[in-house]
Symmetry: C2
DNA sequence: TTTTTTCTTGACTTTTTAGTCAAAATTGAG
DNA sequence: CTCAATTTTGACTAAAAAGTCAAGAAAAAA
């Protein structure tokens, strides 16, 4: 048995299966971000992926499993984005600017993932009956923001206050874009985000400072 | 034929029909705010209202018509809330405080309507295929915010800037609550909103002032 | 009272969607 | 090439939801 390095993408058939899975995820992401989760059917997805319906069930147990997978990956990508800086921000203010900018970049580069994340969000506390696995990645995301900003804060600072900050960052970005999509063109959004970001950061610093 | 005052709630049968319609709307609001729009079935609604399924179709053409009705009314109520003050705010800052507070009060007093409004919101620009009527009340809401703040602004001010402000207000409130619902208890939310509101208002004033 | 009109109902038909599985297609081994 | 293993397929069944309508219940008129 050959002990290869990391990726044992053994046979050609397995590679094909992997490609198929990828196609399914891409199609599902497209559809979920256009319609809502509940509104999309399995056939919407397989149709878009140009694959048979049964194929989806070969790769995912059901519709829920695929959306959970997608949300987890999207959170991963957003967090990667957050980790991405040439030189680490020196001040809290700079870090907040960076965070907001990272969200903005993410919403531009990965529009579908952004829409997916901030669409499923509300489902959570509400329909607490199912979809519990969905809550985990969102909490992970909040905790990541907390981790980033807490580097600049006294360790004695109230944990709740940090969480408020994280909610404010996430909420502002998401909320602003949601309404901006209704009320503005994307050109207008682009010119709007910079000055708003500045003042929002300022206000958050004041919030933490006192 | 008796010419009565304003409300010609003529016969008893018609009153009953009106009550039935009200029961349906109440039930639908409850269910829509718990599940999502797409996830609720017509029978969920009539079940909750303790009425026959056919009755809903007597009063509304389909599920879409009832949700549009509810969203329009919810926006009406939110706007009423916004109009509700003992003494008109004297400064822009006071008005912004009032606006944010009105949203907060609305989310407490009319939780279901708040959840409904800020759940359907994302559906809009996205699935532009249907549900166009839903966009209208949201735009009306943004315009109402613009109207309120523009009283305090020079008439020469850039309209886009005012719209940005409206999006920021709506987005901040909505977004913050969305994430707060995941990451905080309602007690924590309550203590969080006040200091955040203060600094947010301050920064918005700066944004407009310059 | 009886008759007529209005409103409500839930069993029914139709449509849509989830999920299954035997067969077909592709791939790997001999 | 042949045959077995793996992956894909779409027609099929089962379940769920939408939407209909003749009949029933309540109210108004006669």
């Amino acid at each position: 048995m050959p002990v290869k390095t990391k990726k044992p993408k053994k046979t050609r058939a397995q590679k094909r299966a992997k490609r198929t899975r990828k196609k399914l995820k891409k199609a599902a992401l497209d559809v979920f971000s256009q319609k809502s989760f509940d509104a999309t059917t399995v056939e919407d997805i397989t149709e878009k992926a140009d694959l048979g319906k049964g194929t989806l069930y070969q790769h995912f147990a059901d519709k829920e499993e695929i959306v959970v997978t997608l949300v987890e990956e999207a959170v991963d990508h957003l967090i990667e984005r957050i980790h991405l800086y040439d030189v680490p921000p020196e001040t809290l203010e700079a870090m907040l600017e960076h965070l907001l900018n990272a969200h903005y970049q993410f919403s531009m580069d990965s529009k579908e993932e952004f829409l997916l994340l901030f669409q499923g969000k509300l489902l959570l506390k509400l329909q607490s009956d199912t979809l519990d696995e969905l809550e985990e990645p969102y909490l992970r995301y909040l905790e990541e923001i907390e981790l980033q900003v807490s580097k600049y804060l006294s360790p004695k600072i109230n944990a709740l206050k940090v969480r408020r900050l994280a909610c404010a960052v996430a909420g502002f970005v998401f909320g602003f874009f949601s309404f901006a999509m209704i009320g503005m063109t994307s050109k207008e959004i682009d010119t709007s985000i910079k000055p708003l970001r500045r003042v929002f950061v300022k206000s958050l610093c004041t919030f933490l400072g006192r």
